[in-house]
Symmetry: C2
Subunit: 196 residues, 2 copies
Amino acid sequence: MSTTETGAQALITRPQRADARRNYEKILTAARQAFAEGGESTALEEIARRAGVGIGTLYRHFPHRQALLEALYVGEVEEMCRSAADLDGSDPWEALNGWFERFIAYIGTKHALAAELQNYLDLDAPLFQLCRTSLFEAGEPLLKNAQEAGLVRPDVSIGDVIQMVVGIAKIPSRDPELNEHILRVALDGLRYQADA
Amino acid sequence: MSTTETGAQALITRPQRADARRNYEKILTAARQAFAEGGESTALEEIARRAGVGIGTLYRHFPHRQALLEALYVGEVEEMCRSAADLDGSDPWEALNGWFERFIAYIGTKHALAAELQNYLDLDAPLFQLCRTSLFEAGEPLLKNAQEAGLVRPDVSIGDVIQMVVGIAKIPSRDPELNEHILRVALDGLRYQADA
DNA sequence: AACCATACGGAGGCCCCCTCCGGTTTGTCA
DNA sequence: TGACAAACCGGAGGGGGCCTCCGTATGGTT
């Protein structure tokens, strides 16, 4: 969207010519929209049609289905990273909680994308590694603050916690409150002290 | 496998003629094997080939891909239900923990199946409802014991906990220990008391 | 043994992913 | 502005997977 490219964005190269750039964006927008609506398995032909573009054009920009999914996915991750910075500064426990609540709400609508990507990509594909790194770096300060304040047990890493939250975020359920309740319980595990 | 049909098994009707019953089992076995190996998206033609059966025969027994997946899925759920009964009687917290550790280990290899099923079925399809009910009934006593012993907070239901554990079990990761660690942290949330 | 219901098997239709290549547009340089 | 090369567009068609249809074979019964 902007000219500043952070982390994982760099993996995705954008086209040069004016019409190509236009089409690239149109396809991305149409794809985002289609995935938000239909959920799973939208045909690429359908996305091309929505974007007002031929199927050949779509494949010029995204050599395979996977490439299109990746581009969308990176966008989502960036979004999550940005929102971590917003929360820095407030009460450590609340900040951590708040970030993960956004996770739940945001990811809630997009399992399909992530699930489909995992069918194509190996878990340690460069894309995933970079996204993980970005997310970890974004969340690290939040967790560290809470740990230094003695609010969170020291034997968990940001990686553990994020994996846990993402797992919970992906629980399919039409009742968002249920997932939030589960999240709260699981996060309470972060401040459980075995001393008692 | 046996003549006693528990809960969800009843949803699945078995064929009558001897050759048909033989083929039915051969297909199920081949499918289980194929899914255990390949993971995602094994072609039905491939499964039929493995079972030494024509594609038409496969479709006679399982009118669509979804039906075959359902049959496999029910088997897995039954397995989990059975294993809950084994654990009843031991220390309440250990029993609960033990059951969920088996979840992690067992489900770990089978996300593909569940994920694919969710693409076809609505969450409140009869099959899922029945499976949920079975699982809940199996786990209920374990949770109740732990709650009555004061080891687990009272504001969680077996449904909450199972959803949480399944979510964690589905976290893709090549390191089983990581998922077990995450599970322990999340389960500690069950015995967190806000009083402190 | 003869008959019928049931079951088998594979050719083929449809849809989706992706490739290929002839025609068109864009940006540049004189 | 005009013309050229590079970049881009678009859709026909190949390939594979899911599923249907129907002629043939087999199991069970009289």
